[in-house]
């Protein structure tokens, strides 16, 4: 087996004294799509930003390794990160329109991503930008290149962002909820586009989402995060077939499925993610977990192997199957 493109090892991110991400480990191989899943606020976006060292000022990278093709980005000084961003690893965000400069034609913004890393003429860069648009299936590329973000739909802006992210041919693409702000039909198109590009280029993809439907659609492997920690990780197939963490089981039960009457209530998880400052010594899911027992509130469950590549952090993994049946 070849070494993974991205290998995050026990990443720890702190805001003040509280750890918002606490020991996150995951890896993404060449051509693989790994989904990082969890409710809003569990630390997905910060983890993604940490990889490219784009964390907001308030958030501190307090520990762990971030290996990109074997090089540790966690210990790099910030000035050398610019050379890596966009060339070796790219990221696209949830708000494609806001991610583009409103005052600059999108063609120039795509070209800029190329000229940041390669010494090519402005003309050459624009030609490459055009090729990029053609390769992601945008019709009428010349008109698009000259347009401003406000003239484009959200879906088109996200395609532009993908073009910007991939123009230098990075080995890793991080997509932070790339379709959350888009219509359902556009969502499917963008996901399809990402899958197709990955297949063509062998790019490793870390896809962040809170939508299990998206995971089912596109992911090879899944990392489920809860309150800054990994709750469970497995191949997508295995995770859907036999979840070993109650949180995963409840997330799966919340996927809207065909056949459910529109009026019937979807299974949802009661309560919200506890804030980082309130974490005690026990399992962080205990306050919301239907299987919680006394031990859970005192002792934190370690990540345990259940099958090759399938790990879960729960004292009562064995009982999770009964939960699925009840839901």
């Amino acid at each position: 087996m070849t070494a993974p493109v991205l290998d995050i090892d026990r990443l720890r991110l702190e805001i003040g004294a509280a750890a918002v991400v606490d020991g996150l480990s995951l890896s993404v191989g060449q051509g693989e799509i790994v989904a990082l899943v969890g409710e809003s606020g569990c630390g997905k976006s910060l983890s993604a930003l940490a990889v490219l060292r784009l964390l907001p000022d308030a958030v501190r990278l307090a520990g762990g390794r971030i290996l990109l093709e074997g090089k540790d980005l966690a210990t790099r000084d910030m000035s050398s990160m610019a050379a890596i961003r966009g060339r070796d690893a790219s990221i696209i965000f949830q708000e494609p329109t806001a991610s583009l400069d409103p005052l600059m034609p999108v063609g120039d913004q795509i070209a800029e991503a190329l000229t940041a890393h390669r010494s090519v003429s402005a003309r050459e860069a624009m030609l490459r930008a055009r090729e990029m648009l053609v390769s992601i299936g945008i019709s009428d590329p010349d008109r698009r290149l000259a347009q401003y973000p406000f003239e484009l739909s959200g879906g088109m802006c996200q395609r532009i962002m993908i073009a910007i992210a991939l123009i230098c041919g990075p080995r890793l693409l991080i997509a932070d909820e790339p379709t959350t702000a888009l219509d359902v039909t556009i969502q499917a198109q963008i996901l399809h586009l990402i899958r197709q590009l990955v297949a063509e280029r062998g790019t490793a993809v870390l896809l962040i989402t809170h939508d299990m439907g998206v995971v089912a659609d596109i992911a090879d492997r899944v990392v489920v995060m809860y309150a800054g920690r990994v709750a469970e990780t497995a191949t997508a197939e295995e995770l859907f077939r036999a979840p070993r963490h109650p949180y995963t089981a409840l997330l799966l039960a919340s996927i809207p499925r065909a056949g459910i009457k529109p009026k019937s209530r979807l299974a949802t998880i009661e309560g919200t993610v506890p804030p980082p400052s309130s974490h005690g010594s026990g399992c962080r899911f205990a306050s919301r977990c239907p299987l919680a027992e006394d031990r859970c509130r005192i002792e934190s469950p370690p990540l345990v192997d259940h099958a090759p590549g399938h790990q879960a952090a729960c004292w009562r993994s064995g009982q999770v199957a009964t939960l699925g049946a009840a839901a």
């Binding site: 490219l52 784009l54 000035s79 610019a82 050379a83 890596i84 961003r85 966009g86 060339r87 790219s90 990221i91 965000f93 708000e95 806001a98 991610s99 583009l100 400069d101 409103p102 005052l103 600059m104 800029e112 991503a113 940041a116 890393h117 401003y148 406000f150 003239e151 962002m161 910007i164 992210a165 230098c168």
Partner: protein, 307 residues
Amino acid sequence: MLRYLLSRLLQAALTTFGVMTIVFFVMRLSGDPVLLLVPEGATREHIETVRRELGFVQPIWRQYLTFLGGLLNLELGVSVVQRVPAWDILASRIPYTLALAGAALLVAVGFGIPAGIAMAIWRGRWFERPIAALVVTGQSMPTFLSGILMIMLFAVTLRWLPSSGVDGPASVVMPAIALGMLSMSTFARMARIAVVDELSKDYVRAGLARGLPLGKVVTRHVLRNAAIPVVTIAALETGNLLAGAIIVETVFAWPGIGQLAIQAIQSRDFLVVQAIVLFVSLVYVAVNLAADLLYAGIDPRIRLGKP
């Protein structure tokens, strides 16, 4: 774009018309204008003669039309004090005030905006503090005080610059600094706010994410976006500069329209005062029109008409 231009031009024309109308009626509302136009202690016959000469016996709408017609021909009446057309008096002063205000704006923009950008980029770091201290000084120092202090230091003690009056291009330096200081602080604060605001936007993070160094993101993207609110401030500041010119021109004996305004008010030269009010208002309208054109130049959403 054309619609935007036309609407702005129309607005400027309407404002101009409104200003003229207000000036006309305020002059009539503040008592018998003839009494304001004749020297103190004039005889009854003299007053009547002036009244007839200036057409104040005609119905008011007639006077109003004559007034507007006169404005179109730059006829602002003849100064009763100096016996010279008010426009000629004003016109001889305009270049001085434009030179002073222009130099002051240069000082304000040239120092204020880089200071604001630097404060935004280094916000919270120690090198923001000395810049911020300068800005606060500029902001809290009254214009007459900074003017007098400068005269004492650079003209009296060091003898580097002429203390007052117009004597070559060096003469404009101190008045321009005194006049521009307050605006400089305003520009610095506004530029800081605008740049900080832009730096928090998603496109900045996205720019860094495609491998641009922060400096490039700032020069290529942030400054242009931050320019929009700063242009608004610049237009407003022009009004403050013209008001400040009254004080600065007096302190430095600068023969511009600020000084003229003081002299005209003291000598009850009402038509000259009126001419100054009209002129300053029109400059203000013109500056705001220029700001509207600049917006269109900067922002494609205005230029192309946001759907």
